[in-house]
């Protein structure tokens, strides 16, 4: 009996320690933005909203959040549209070696994206004159996300019964109509997954915008946060906390939405 009690106690101690480990670093994000004298540690704040005003008056803070939105919207649209088209066609037409090719691309993308290819990507964009181009950067980010997006979406497309499309075709629907009116509505959960996944990935991407967008007026929030931190000084402690919070809100909202609607779980998509 004592053994049982001890084990229960030990169990809750472990859970508490783990919970503290994960939660404590985040508490700062809740307290510092509203503290009149923000520091790096966690403490009960002297409530104020003056930091919010300071942040809004910062010359680049809001611009960079808008830039993040532009960059992510472009990357997400490119990734979702192209991946949906490709996944649908790969799911319906038999091409020899398709699965191997897809798997290789997936492996390549998880290896090459960002770090290993940073030199050629930088040189490529430099020679194309696309340094400081937001659309160019969005295309690079999209290119890196496409293989995984196609891979995930193909699973969803495979699960759309072919008989639906065949009946539509019997009634004379064109391929584009079949896709728009039959396949896309059925594959909507898959598309939603990709939109959220692509947005969150692009939103947090630091390296590519850092490499390719050198003009501070075009840089997204990811890069500006780094710049603010580098400048140092206590003045920035009135900007950084609020800015970090604003920058985090979109992904937190998306996360809450997804976990409420679908539950945040893996549904068999990961093959053992």
């Amino acid at each position: 009996m004592t053994g049982f009690v001890l084990r229960r106690i030990g169990f809750y101690v472990v859970i508490t320690v783990v919970l503290a480990f994960f939660a404590v670093p985040m508490l700062w994000l809740a307290s510092a933005p509203f503290d009149a004298r923000p520091g790096l540690g966690i403490r009960w704040p002297d409530w104020t909203l003056s930091n919010v005003r300071t942040t809004f008056e910062h010359p680049f803070a809001l611009t960079s959040l808008v830039n993040s939105l532009i960059l992510c919207a472009a990357a997400t649209v490119v990734t979702t549209v192209l991946a949906a088209l490709a996944a649908y066609s790969l799911s319906r037409v038999r091409i020899p070696g398709r699965d191997v090719l897809l798997y290789l691309l997936l492996l390549l993308s998880s290896v090459v994206t960002g770090t290993a290819a940073m030199v050629p990507i930088f040189v490529l964009m430099l020679q194309l004159g696309l340094i400081n181009s937001q659309l160019g950067t969005a295309l690079v980010i999209g290119g890196g996300m496409l293989p995984a997006a196609i891979f995930i979406l193909k699973d969803f497309m495979d699960s759309v019964p072919r008989s639906y499309e065949e009946s539509a075709r019997v009634f004379g629907a064109r391929p584009r109509q079949v896709l728009g009116h039959v396949v896309l509505p059925v594959a909507r959960p898959g598309i939603a997954t990709i939109v959220v996944w692509a947005f969150v990935n692009a939103w947090g991407n630091f390296l590519l915008p850092f490499l390719l967008l050198r003009d501070v007026g075009k840089q997204p929030a990811a890069v500006l946060l780094r710049t603010l931190n580098d400048e140092g000084g206590s003045a920035n402690l009135h900007v950084i906390p609020v800015f970090s919070l604003l920058y985090s809100i979109p992904v937190v909202l998306l996360y809450l939405m997804v976990s409420k609607r679908y539950g945040f779980r893996f549904h068999g998509g990961i093959k053992s």
Binding site: I15, V18, L19, F22, A23, V24, P25, M26, W28, L29, A32, G39, L40, I42, L82, L85, A86, Y88, S89, L90, V93, L105, L108, S110, V111, V112, T113, G114, T115, A116, A117, M118, V119, P120, I121, V123, L124, L139, G143, G144, L146, P147, I150, V200, G204, F206, A222, R226, N229, S244, Y247, S248, V251, V252, Y255, F264, F266, H267, I270, S272
Partner: protein
């Protein structure tokens, strides 16, 4: 049906073009730049010469490169293969039978650590580990600049915090596939928790363990977030390969040399992936 083939190609083409230009082409170009003396500025910026394997030879001879390989290995082993794997599994195992609200709370924080933007979490940990009133220093009552005195240990702990969510999710779904009757039998014969995990659970989830370990190893080996926390310092003590590549390419301007290192990193990734495929096949 030729018409069918036409639209299929038209649908795949845009995605393939983008992947080709921004993924496959850069990967191949790394090969070429790696054997030249290409620089960001100066005369060789305009007319790079092919210098063969010189870059690779000097990389293998470069103490900073060997240092970086070693640090990357420590980073991957410590934070991914051991840290995220063990903590992720432990969480999945412990949270199986707790009350739903507790489970949701713990999972919520672990997932939040995973989905918050990289620059934000880097700053959060910069604050925790700071000497000037950072939370860790306050908790243990010490005035240590953790990121300066223990840079690699800090990065390992940070990356465990950052990435455990993926392993936890994957192992949670894997554990759901273990037949409850097997667990029940183990309990009836009086097996301890550890024995149950080793003899009953592990054989069922071996494939998941391999997949998980491969993915988190690759992600960790190519992670650029350490740059945001320590930028490789102090004095190269936390300069993992991605950071080394960045500093050589953009700060020193040695594009050829940095490409050669990229290629070695790519080969390293490939070796990890091949070992994994081999282990997976042996299971089948």
């Amino acid at each position: 049906m030729p018409e069918r083939r036409t639209w299929a190609v038209a649908f795949v083409a845009p995605a393939l073009v983008l992947i080709g230009v921004f993924l496959v082409f850069p990967a191949l170009w790394t090969l070429y730049i790696g054997i030249t003396d290409y620089q960001l500025t100066g005369p060789t910026a305009i007319n790079p010469r092919v210098v063969g394997v010189t870059n690779f030879v000097s990389a293998l001879d470069d103490a900073l490169f060997t240092n970086s390989v070693w640090l990357t290995a420590v980073f991957v082993l410590g934070s991914a293969v051991i840290g995220q794997n063990v903590l992720g599994f432990t969480l999945a195992w412990l949270l199986r039978r707790v009350r739903p609200w507790l489970r949701r709370t713990v999972e919520g924080f672990v997932l939040l650590a995973w989905i918050l933007p990289g620059p934000v979490v880097a700053y959060l940990w910069f604050a925790v580990l700071s000497r000037d009133g950072g939370t860790l220093g306050t908790l243990v009552g010490s005035n240590t600049a953790w990121l300066v005195e223990y840079p690699m240990a800090s990065l390992v702990v940070f990356n465990i915090w950052r990435g455990t969510a993926f392993s936890m999710l994957l192992y949670t779904s894997a554990l759901a596939a273990v037949p409850p009757s097997h667990l029940e039998t183990a309990r009836l014969v009086g097996a301890s928790g550890w024995q149950t995990v080793r003899d009953v659970v592990f054989p069922h989830i071996r494939g998941h363990v391999l997949t998980n370990t491969l993915l988190i190893s690759l992600w960790t080996a190519n992670d650029f977030t350490p740059f945001l926390l320590t930028a490789g310092g102090p004095n190269h003590e936390s300069e993992v390969l991605p950071v080394l590549i960045y500093r050589r390419a953009l700060e020193s301007g040695q594009l050829g040399y940095a490409s050669a290192i990229s290629l070695l990193l790519l080969i390293g990734n490939l070796v990890i992936a091949l070992v994994y495929l081999r282990l997976l096949r042996r299971r089948a």
